[in-house]
């Protein structure tokens, strides 16, 4: 036995902002879900099941918010499922939704992920609500320093990622940050947050949501707009702290992408994949993930960035949407990566479209760089054929 083909036929997201004071949490998720249904040419009644993902409930101060969001997401009388896998949760939310269709459980599934960071204080919540915390930047900076020392990368690589992703974000109507006039100098001169990360090399705190509609092969073929086909999914986890793990280039990251490449038949990811959305909340994670997902050889990820290969017009565009550096509604950030990959192979990415993208990769990671969720989507079921 094997699972059935799954198609992405609807994608919606909110305008991401520092504070969406104009909508409630319910209004926020409904905005994204409504856009996804409109894109899919469907109505609420067409959806068989809803999957909701978000990062810790402590971020908004609402325990198991899917219970009260059932109404806003039209889930009454239907199955409603709640996923939480740390920063990778948006990706897991997409994967679980696609599996419900792939397993033949449902014909049409709506996956929604959100975070309304302005409702609370993520930094406080990250510390377990028990006081101060070093925050995500403080947690990842040591891994980044280790990467720089190991690879010998020049210091401007991080600045280049920061500039490139914000320039891409300026092309994305939904992005939180639109810093079209950002420059290397501005990044370098912005305050140092967690050495070597400057303020402009860090992700924003955003309110936002993302929604994706999945359907089966018949539904995908009958869709009014081109579908994106889910070619492979994978999730890997490893312990937070363990003397045998390499948090700079985690084994789980290598295994996760290896599983994707095997399922799709990718033997040379750098050449065969047209573009990628990688979870890069801090600039240096672009070269680090290029290496940890074996797109670049060890020590070569930064060269791809330095040479401009990862720019929108480069040979391997990364984070065409502007990435997490341009919008970071934490729980939704993973699904936004997955959705952008799907938009690209559907040819619907507007000003940040990679011409003729047929095969796109998306990734999200979480916690202490230990949870990984990935998928590959294609413009057809056999984009390499």
């Amino acid at each position: 036995m094997s699972h059935q083909p799954v198609a992405v036929v609807g994608i919606g997201q909110t305008h991401h902002k520092k504070r969406r004071g104009d909508v409630s949490i319910a209004g926020l998720v409904r905005e994204a879900a409504s856009r996804a249904l409109e894109d899919a040419n469907m109505d609420w009644g067409d959806i068989d099941a809803v999957v909701l993902g978000k990062a810790p409930d402590l971020f908004e101060g609402v325990m198991k918010p899917e219970m009260f969001l059932a109404d806003a997401l039209g889930a009454n009388g239907k199955p409603m499922f709640r996923v939480h896998t740390a920063g990778s949760v948006g990706g897991s939310t997409g994967i679980v939704g696609s599996h419900l269709v792939g397993a033949g459980r449902h014909k049409r599934v709506l996956s929604v992920a959100f975070e309304k960071q302005s409702e609370g204080n993520a930094q406080f919540a990250l510390g377990g609500g028990k006081g101060g915390s070093i925050g995500a930047g403080g947690a990842f900076a040591p891994f980044i320093r280790a990467y720089i020392r190991r690879s010998g990368a020049p210091e401007d690589v991080g600045w280049k990622v920061a500039v490139k992703d914000r320039q891409n974000g300026a092309k994305n109507p939904y992005a939180h940050l639109k810093l079209a006039d950002i420059t290397i100098d501005k990044v370098r001169e912005s305050p140092m947050m967690w050495d070597p990360l400057h303020f402009l090399e860090s992700c924003p705190s955003s309110d936002g949501a993302c929604a994706v509609v999945f359907t089966d092969e018949d539904g995908g073929k009958a869709a009014s707009k081109p579908p994106a086909w889910v070619l492979a999914t994978a999730m890997k986890s490893e312990p937070s702290t363990f003397a045998g793990r390499d948090p700079v280039s985690p084994l789980g990251a290598h295994m996760c992408s290896a599983e994707i490449y095997k399922q799709v038949g990718i033997t040379n990811p750098r050449e065969q994949i047209d573009c990628a959305e990688l979870y890069v909340p801090f600039s240096w994670y672009e070269p680090m993930w290029l290496e940890a997902h074996d797109i670049a050889a060890p020590g070569d990820g930064w060269r791809m960035t330095a040479d401009g290969d990862t720019e929108l017009t480069g040979s391997f565009p990364v984070n065409m949407s502007g990435g997490v550096l341009s919008s970071n509604p934490i729980g939704a950030s993973g699904l936004l990566r997955f959705a952008e990959a799907a938009l690209q192979v559907r040819g619907q990415a507007g000003d940040h479209q990679v011409p003729d993208a047929k095969l796109a990769l998306a990734q999200a990671y979480g916690a202490n760089a230990q949870f990984f969720a990935m998928w590959a989507v294609g413009s057809s079921l056999d984009p390499l054929g």
């Binding site: 709640r82 939480h84 599996h99 986890s237 312990p239 084994l251």
Partner: protein, 355 residues
């Protein structure tokens, strides 16, 4: 009925001690239980294709609490893993769907709750709609007293009916080594107890429990290799209803009826039903919504009134229903989980043993 490679069964399980309070962390509670479940199926951790757990940050009192629980799986080399902010029975559902992808044939699903960290009367107010209900301090005692009152007013049940089921559950729990509350109780004495929120009495509430549980699932022929008499999950479905209790008829459970239909309950009688009814009277609402008759034994384990490790209580219903097949030779049993205020969300699974 011959089983196919897309049929999935419970083939192993373990349940922790059920305690009013433990000094252990969730991770410490889970470690022997996950290992025990895997061992009960004759496997080692490296044999497991997918692992998923259910837990709740607000119960453990910390954001990302499930992250350290990965240590309970021995996740090295890295494993296929997921987590739901739901009862462990929903983790089982994700594992069930994951197995249907066809590339793996075993999975572990766990649920863990360290309920002693918090006071339910304050904690569960923030499980409610944050705009309309949390500010009212809508706590579970008050909400469930309203539901109980609605049931009494409907004429479907009396306080004596409810006291009788409390006495029955506690008596049944005497045989359950995992029970926290058990014993012989006189119905008249129960009825003489004070109300804590009219018409709720203290014995109508679930105990506060620290505990966890884990199951091993196997697909197709693999299930027969691991278990002499697998408990096949022939149907599983879950449904949710409007959140605001005022938008629902609280004396019935439409979502339970729908989930039971989706799970295929109507295909035949069930000998045993393990119902997740944390508030005593809810067992009556559930039994009616499922259409269970006198030929179905309800909660021989004592149910959630015997032990209620929230986030694992539903998975324990699944284990108890599976044990009836695996150990007691029953043919067809039912397991149920509820979540949210006044039975907002419900899951129903039908388990079957071979002829």
């Amino acid at each position: 009925m011959p089983r196919s490679e897309s049929d999935i069964a419970i083939v192993g399980y373990a349940i922790s001690p059920m305690l009013r309070r433990t000094d252990q962390t969730e991770t410490m509670m889970m470690l022997p239980v996950v290992a025990g479940a895997i061992k009960s199926a004759g496997l080692t951790k490296d044999d497991i294709g997918f692992t998923v757990s259910g837990s709740c940050d607000y119960l453990s009192g910390q954001a990302f609490s499930f992250v350290s629980n990965v240590d309970a799986y021995g996740a090295w080399p890295p494993i296929n893993e997921s987590h739901v902010e739901m009862d462990g029975s929903f983790a089982l559902y994700e594992a069930f769907v994951r197995l249907l992808q066809g590339d793996i044939d075993t999975a572990v699903a766990a649920g863990v709750g360290k309920n002693s960290n918090s006071d339910p009367s304050t904690l569960y107010t923030i499980e409610m709609d944050p705009y309309y209900l949390t500010p009212l301090g809508a706590d579970p005692w008050s909400l469930h007293a309203l539901q109980y009152r609605a049931l009494l007013d409907s004429g479907k049940a009396t306080e004596r009916d409810v006291a009788e089921l409390v006495a029955r559950n506690r008596a049944s729990a005497k045989e359950n080594i995992h029970a926290q509350v058990s014993g012989d109780y006189d119905v008249d004495e129960l009825l003489a107890a004070d109300y804590i929120r009219t018409p709720l009495r203290r014995h109508d509430l679930p105990p506060i429990t620290d505990g966890c549980a884990a199951v091993v699932l196997a697909r197709g022929q693999k299930a027969y290799e691991l278990c002499e008499r697998p408990a096949w999950i022939t149907g599983i479905d879950h449904r949710i209803e409007p959140h605001l209790p005022t938008l629902r008829d609280l004396t019935t459970s439409v979502s339970t009826t729908r989930a039971a239909k989706g799970a295929g309950l109507a295909a035949g009688p069930v000998e045993v039903a393990e119902l997740h009814a944390p508030f005593s009277y809810q067992e009556l609402i559930l039994a009616e919504s499922l259409g269970l008759g006198a030929d179905t034994q309800i909660n021989p384990s004592g149910g959630a009134l015997a032990a209620n490790p929230v986030m694992a209580t539903g998975l324990i219903r699944m284990i108890e229903a599976a044990k009836q097949i695996i150990e007691n030779g029953k043919r067809r049993t039912l397991a149920h989980t509820t979540s949210g205020p006044c039975l907002q969300q419900n899951l129903v699974a039908i388990l079957e043993g071979d002829e």
